[in-house]
Amino acid sequence: MHKKSCIFKLRKYKILLLMLLPALIYTLIFSYLPMAGIVLAFKNYNYADGIFKSPWSGFENFRFFFSSGQAFKVTRNTILYNLAFMVVNTLLQLAVAIFLSEIKGKIFKKTAQSVMFLPYFISWVIVSVIAFNFLSYDYGIINSFLSSMGLNKIDFYGTPKYWIGILIFFNAWKGIGYGSVIYLSAIMGIDTEMYESAEIDGANIFQRIFYITVPSLVPTIIILLLLAVGQIFRGNFDMFYQLVGTNGILFDITDVIDTFTFRALIRSNDVGMAAASGLYQSVFCFITIVTTNYLVKRYEKDYSLF
């Protein structure tokens, strides 16, 4: 019975499967084949033996991370920052997208959209220089302004607690263009008939947004949140590394798994240890997203990622 329906389905889905084939092959070659390299996390890699013949080393490569006394701290930081980013970015990008879609001024809209994309192009290396120009104690723009008003200067680089806000700000700033475009395009896909009937019913603009636009965007919002959740154990290395730099005073608040691993391996460049750290992140990301996806599926089947 089962076999019959399998063949039946194959025939039914023939064209669909053919349409899937290129991407399948692509993914197999470029993502699944190299995945075998995960074994590096358990090996003492050397060039002569290569990836597969190098001797096994069990969990040795994981030891540095878990015996450091900092594993919990950096993991906690990573997760909390990602959660904060998720919330702040979603709200901000959503708001901006909705405003941009409703405002009438064409030139303003186009200019604003283009301008919002600019941060995306400025590499974190340069952003850190600009940030320093703003935040530095001696001659920074903010502090110069404060002292010219007779107020006390703020020691940004010496006070860890400001950095939660600073990092959230920069993360939001960098991604606003990219993120709002996704919501914008989703808004463009909403059936205008719904708006027209709402107008006729006498709804004001706020009601239109809250009863039509936002609900129509819920699938997109959930998908994007799920995608973010799937990366919740991974820190945005470039941002943290460039903005905070080697300023150790801030590390308790700003250190994430990726920057920690980077510092640990700066001398040895050990491939196995790097792979171990990455695997740790992968496994926990996997557990998190599978659980979350399952919960979302129970609530509404079509909103899930898989």
């Binding site: 952003v127 395009s185 996997f286």
Partner: protein, 297 residues
């Protein structure tokens, strides 16, 4: 009617204010970069950034463009690569996205997971590099720049998500007419997906445009370098400088020629310049709303 006017007014005030503020915050740093690129190096080092150029100077740009043939060639490589990659990538991504959102495709979730899984686990750079260089023999090949960025799961999911929002009514008519799966995709779904195609197309184009990493890894032939490779290599030199200083306890590092601050700013401007024009292009396709009326007609 008066009620209508006030709520629109409040909305507009808030809207213009918030988006204007966000736009300003995005713009100001870029203006600083722009100004610095037109400034004299010594003054930038001494006094930092500002909104206006300090002692207007084209020195940084002269250095960026000092070898116009190389930059010109790199521009060409990048542009051709971006256009080719975007078209192919869009086609691949949209086709796959379409299949995965078909509610009558029972296996869609399993395949979705198949794709999504690759964002969770990865073998890292070493096996990937070995695959590209030893087994696929793509060293110094344009394919090494084209293939890695063609298809990624993030774009796939955005595409799939948008397409699943297209009302079934559109396709029902076509099925009755006896259209095959591919035709439905090609003749109906694609035209209706202009916004998402523009979005994902923009993302793919940006990825190609900004890519220097693949050039660094796989290309040795100077003629094949992309624009970004030349530019980012110079910006990133300073990281190497800091690291070498740290690793050698300050013993080594004086011989590294560091790009000046203004040079790095000029490089950033040159990197951004052209592609920022791609955005308005994509905006053309952000046509508001699909009307079901079109189907009935």
């Amino acid at each position: 009617m008066k009620k209508g006017r006030t709520d629109v007014l409040i909305f507009n005030i808030t809207g213009y204010f918030i988006t204007g503020l966000v736009a300003l915050v995005c713009l100001v740093p870029f203006i600083m970069v722009l100004s610095a690129s037109f400034s004299e190096e010594k003054l930038v080092l001494k006094d930092g950034f500002s909104l206006l150029p300090r002692n207007f100077s084209l020195d940084a740009y002269k250095t960026v463009f000092e070898k116009p043939e190389i930059i010109g060639r790199a521009y060409l490589v990048t542009i051709v690569l971006t256009i080719t990659g975007t078209i192919l990538g869009l086609f691949l991504t949209s086709m796959t996205g379409y299949v995965l959102q078909r509610k009558d495709f029972d296996w869609r979730n399993r395949f979705s997971f198949f794709f999504y899984f690759t964002t969770l686990f990865s073998g890292g750079l070493v096996p990937y590099y070995i695959l590209m260089v030893r087994y696929l023999r793509l060293k110094d090949s344009y394919l090494a720049l084209l293939l890695p960025l063609l298809f990624n799961v993030f774009n796939l999911i955005i595409m799939k998500s948008y397409m699943s929002g297209i009302p079934v009514a559109f396709t029902e008519a076509a099925i009755i007419d006896g259209c095959g799966d591919f035709s439905i995709y090609y003749r109906i779904i694609l035209p209706l997906s202009k916004p998402v195609l523009a979005t994902v197309g923009l993302f793919i184009a940006l990825a190609y445009w900004n890519d220097w990493y693949n050039s660094m890894l796989y290309i040795n032939d100077e003629l094949k370098y992309t624009l970004q490779y030349f530019l980012y290599m110079r910006i990133n030199n300073i990281e190497a400088y800091k690291k070498i200083i740290a690793q050698s306890g300050g013993q080594v590092g004086s011989f590294i020629e560091l790009p000046t601050q203004t040079l790095r700013m000029a490089l950033t401007v040159v990197v951004t310049g052209p592609i920022i024009l791609a955005y308005p292009l994509a905006q053309k396709y952000f046509v508001k709303g699909i009307t079901i009326g079109a189907v009935k007609g």
